[in-house]
């Protein structure tokens, strides 16, 4: 909620901190503060009120209370607000009937003889600083009082109300046109404010346009009410309207705010309309919630926080929060606090106000246990280590796909509308994508595995999926997978007999996707890790790896390119490699040089030729052919200079 510092200051007996100091005061002790605007000598802060304190803190008064506690000041209400307007018995309100328990409280009064104008600067500016639009003087005053006290208020044009007022359930299919001209069809579970002929407002949510206040309005009826939070929430979902009013009602607004709201609004209207006459107040429902009592001990509160806070300090903090404290320890919470229910709630007040930064010298907990790590986790970790050792790379794929058994109710898109029931289809796609980058990665073969959950109809499980792809040649992908599974079973992975791990050209799944015809691919079926375990006698011990912190290199969106060069000469592989890389980097720039990979070695008559594939890629552009040809030219020149031969 956006709050104005000057506005808060009305309620706090000491100067409120400014700028960064305000940020820290609130963020470290109650609410995060995001966003900050300086307007003249004032500041507007965006305070992130926590959900459990929405009931009493969605208002300047509520936040001012908390600020006062934190800076050791008093919360004080300006004196003039304590004298209500004079009541005239000449002003008669229509009859009001409450026909549903969903309405917990209803206050109303009629005011005759007002003039609706554009709002004065202080009112307009005050609302606009909080991001609220100015409408007219009356509507703006209701919003102002809501932002001040937390109580949503509504005004009807009294001359447009037909007959008497009833707070009732809507009739099934009953229509209302809202103040912003939306036509809404209501159902019989929605509470409305109605007159003899139809709906005046969707209770707690939105006013109708029939009796809306306009510049022509002379007499008004005010409403200050309170409704069951769950019902208002359901209504907002049904009619798809959420606003500042509905938000406060659905967070269980305290009953006592209704009187404050009506009183303050009446005073504001009286000030702007000195000749107006104020009728008596219709009052339905209890004026105040029952106070909540929480019984615990001071020791319990201290133990929750875990540090030495004195009894006096604990009691002092609770009293600062407007709580009554008796004995050891019976605490009566103020009636406007919905969030004080259990002893832990008291511990939170003490902890955050005392300051969590005062918890120092803390040690970690430590526990002796005979419990074991989850079996699946241990098995998966071990399989991971084994597969990485024999050259497999791990991916984590996307669980949402088009081809699963379980369907989402509200998917983000059609191709992500189900939960995948196999890893094979996604492995197929991922490995095919990756096959385009073999040269860039400096590998001849992509060996990939994934360990993830799948969601087939008969039950969620964790499975292992393997995929291998390479250019057609002597290395057969399905043999690689067969060997990989053998490596697992040779090193202590026991697979339940019901799992089919025979991968041969018949049982393996071959890709159905059209891809580079020069490639060969093999995919394993889903291998259920839940049906695997580790034979301790054959388990390999892997040393803990020391990781060096790398900085992630952005993956370029621009295409990579390759050039091959074969060099015959007395030089060793390392000498040839060093020369090529050195020249290439100098010519094209180190940032555009990716790698040089040896792909062929050929020895004849005592001389060895080494063939390298050079890979180039830029982060900012597609490298031109001439540039790369230029690299080759430079390499060739350097080779010739050394007396070697370019083949």
């Amino acid at each position: 909620m956006k709050v104005s510092r000057n506005w808060l200051q009305n309620y706090v007996s000491k100067p409120i901190p400014k700028g960064e100091a305000f940020f820290d005061l609130l963020s470290l002790n109650i609410f995060e503060v995001e966003g900050h605007e300086v307007i003249g000598d004032n500041e507007v802060f965006d305070v992130k009120v926590l959900a459990d304190r929405n009931a009493y803190c969605l208002s300047h008064r509520g936040i001012a209370r908390e600020v006062a506690i934190l800076i050791g000041a008093d919360y004080k209400v300006p004196e003039f607000l304590n004298t209500p307007v004079a009541v005239s018995n000449n002003v008669t309100l229509p009859e009001i009937k409450i026909e549903s328990d969903i309405c917990r409280k209803y206050l109303s009064r009629k005011i005759n003889g007002i003039t609706v104008t554009a709002s004065p600067d202080w009112l307009k500016g005050g609302l606009e600083a909080l991001g609220q639009r100015s409408i007219n003087s009356i509507v703006d005053m209701t919003n102002y009082v809501m932002m001040d006290s937390g109580q949503p208020l509504h005004a009807f044009d009294a001359d447009l109300v037909r007959g008497n007022i009833v707070v009732r359930m809507a009739k099934e299919g009953e229509m209302v046109t809202t103040l912003d001209n939306k036509e809404i069809k209501l159902d019989s579970k929605t509470l409305v404010i109605a007159d003899d002929e139809g709906v005046l407002a969707i209770a707690g949510v939105k006013g109708g346009n029939h009796a809306g206040v306009t510049m022509a309005t002379k007499n008004i009826i005010l409403e200050s009410a309170n409704f069951m939070p769950a019902e208002i929430r359901k209504t907002t979902v049904k009619v798809n309207i959420r606003n500042e009013s509905s938000k406060r009602f659905e967070n269980d607004l305290p009953l006592e705010f209704a009187n404050v709201g009506l009183n303050d609004l009446s005073l504001l209207i009286a000030e702007a309309n000195p000749k107006a006459e104020f009728g008596p107040i219709f009052n339905y429902g209890p004026d105040i919630d029952e106070a909540k009592i929480v019984e615990t001990t001071i020791d319990f509160i201290r133990e929750c926080i875990g540090i030495e806070i004195s009894n006096d300090e604990i009691i002092s903090i609770l009293k600062k929060c407007d709580m009554q404290v008796e004995g050891n320890l019976k605490v009566t919470a103020p009636t406007y606090r919905r969030d004080i229910n259990i002893p832990q709630d008291l511990a939170e007040e003490v902890g955050r106000i005392y300051g969590y930064e005062k918890i120092t010298d803390s040690k970690p907990v430590k526990i002796e246990t005979s419990l074991q790590n989850d079996n699946e986790f241990t098995t998966a970790e071990y399989i991971r280590d084994l597969l990485v050792e024999i050259g497999f790379d791990e991916i984590i794929g996307y669980a949402l796909r088009e081809d699963g058994d379980f369907v989402l109710e509200m998917p983000l898109s059609k191709d992500k509308s189900t939960l995948r029931k196999t890893l094979v289809n996604s492995m197929n796609e991922y490995i095919e994508s990756n096959s385009r980058y073999l040269d860039l990665l400096g590998i001849k073969q992509a060996k990939v595995f994934e360990i993830s959950r799948i969601f087939p109809h008969d039950g969620e499980r964790t499975v292992l999926s393997l995929g291998v792809i390479n250019q057609k040649g002597p290395e057969k992908p399905h043999i690689v997978i067969v060997n990989a599974l053998k490596y697992l079973t040779d090193n202590g992975i026991i697979v339940d007999a019901s799992v089919d791990v025979k991968i041969n050209e018949v049982t393996a799944t071959e890709s159905k996707i059209v891809f580079d015809r020069k490639m060969e691919l093999c995919l394993s079926p889903d291998l259920d890790i839940g049906k695997m375990s580790i034979d301790g006698d054959h388990k390999k011990i892997f040393e803990k790896e020391k990781k060096t912190l790398i900085k992630f290199k952005k993956i370029s969106a621009f295409p990579f390119a390759t050039r091959d060069v074969a060099i015959l000469g007395p030089g060793t592989e390392k000498e040839v490699y060093d020369l090529i890389v050195d020249i290439a980097k100098k010519t094209i720039g180190e940032e555009n040089f990716v790698r040089a990979t040896l792909f062929d070695v050929f020895t004849k008559e005592g001389k060895t030729s080494y063939a390298f594939r050079l890979v180039f890629q830029s982060q900012s552009e597609t490298l031109k052919d001439e540039v790369m040809d230029g690299v080759l030219k430079s390499v060739n020149e350097a080779v010739v200079n050394k007396g070697w031969v370019v083949r």
Binding site: A51, I305, D345, Y356, P364, F377, I390, I396, A399
Partner: protein, 242 residues
């Protein structure tokens, strides 16, 4: 990495595990030193274990805090969803074991959010829980400090900021000082008695703390990864950097 092998195929060069799993291993190892065991739970979960047991009833504004992937089910069946946090494992672990214990549950979670460079519908969380007698915020702070010093280095500092989660009370956001800036890294607090009850633990005898961190963000900050979608892209150009 061997550039100089004679083999045309890189059969015997080591592969790369996924950075997420590397980091999860680091975390589980650190907590193993304290006696925390690794636990698991379903990703396709029921409404009870994901919400109700964690003190998040239906029609409660607290449900607004998470966008849920509800899964179409059979009529009359309990409502199913993709879990929105790893906190479901807390309840299941409590039901299956007797305190005292410490538990760590890493895993995938799902939120119905539009995806962009910093938001994915699928991501990882690591959940922790410790139940014993008279567990305090000081125990929580000490344990988290131990963890973050091991993970980020001895200079790491943490601070608590008051916050609200329905399943803990008191509740805090935990910030860690990393490269001179305070970063929000996890939610934590003392377990709410209603949650202990849902797990079958007597809250008059036992208490506990719990924490949960969104792990993708932590990894992205640690390594300077600029787009979360890489983590689930299946792209070896990503995997093979770590």
């Amino acid at each position: 990495m061997a550039f100089f092998s004679n083999s045309a195929y890189t059969l015997y060069m080591k592969g790369y595990s996924h950075v997420m799993n590397q980091e999860i291993r680091i975390i589980t190892d650190i907590f193993a030193e304290l006696g925390f065991v690794v636990a698991n739970g379903p990703e396709l979960e029921t409404e009870f274990y994901n919400f109700d047991a964690l003190n998040i009833p239906a029609d409660h504004p607290a449900r607004d805090m998470q966008d849920t992937f509800w899964v179409k089910g059979e009529k009359g069946e309990e409502r199913k969803l993709l879990r929105t946090h790893t906190s479901n494992v807390q309840i299941r672990f409590m039901q299956a074991n007797t305190p005292p214990y410490g538990m760590l549950a890493p895993g995938k979670v799902y939120r119905n959010e539009a995806t962009d460079a910093t938001h994915e519908a699928q991501f990882h969380q690591v959940e922790g829980m410790y139940i014993n007698k008279k567990v305090s915020m000081k125990d929580l702070k000490g344990t988290l400090e131990y963890f973050f010093k091991k993970y980020y280095g001895e200079d790491a500092k943490i601070r608590f900021r008051p916050s609200f989660f329905p399943f803990v009370e008191p509740g805090v956001e935990v910030d860690v000082l990393f490269k001179g800036k305070w970063l929000e890294v996890m939610g934590a607090g003392l377990m709410h008695p209603k949650v202990l009850k849902a797990g079958g633990v007597d809250s008059t005898e036992w208490s506990g703390f719990a924490f949960g961190m969104g792990f993708d963000r932590i990894i992205m900050i640690k390594y300077g990864i600029d787009d979360v979608r890489y983590l689930y892209s299946g792209d070896l150009r990503f995997t093979r950097q770590f």
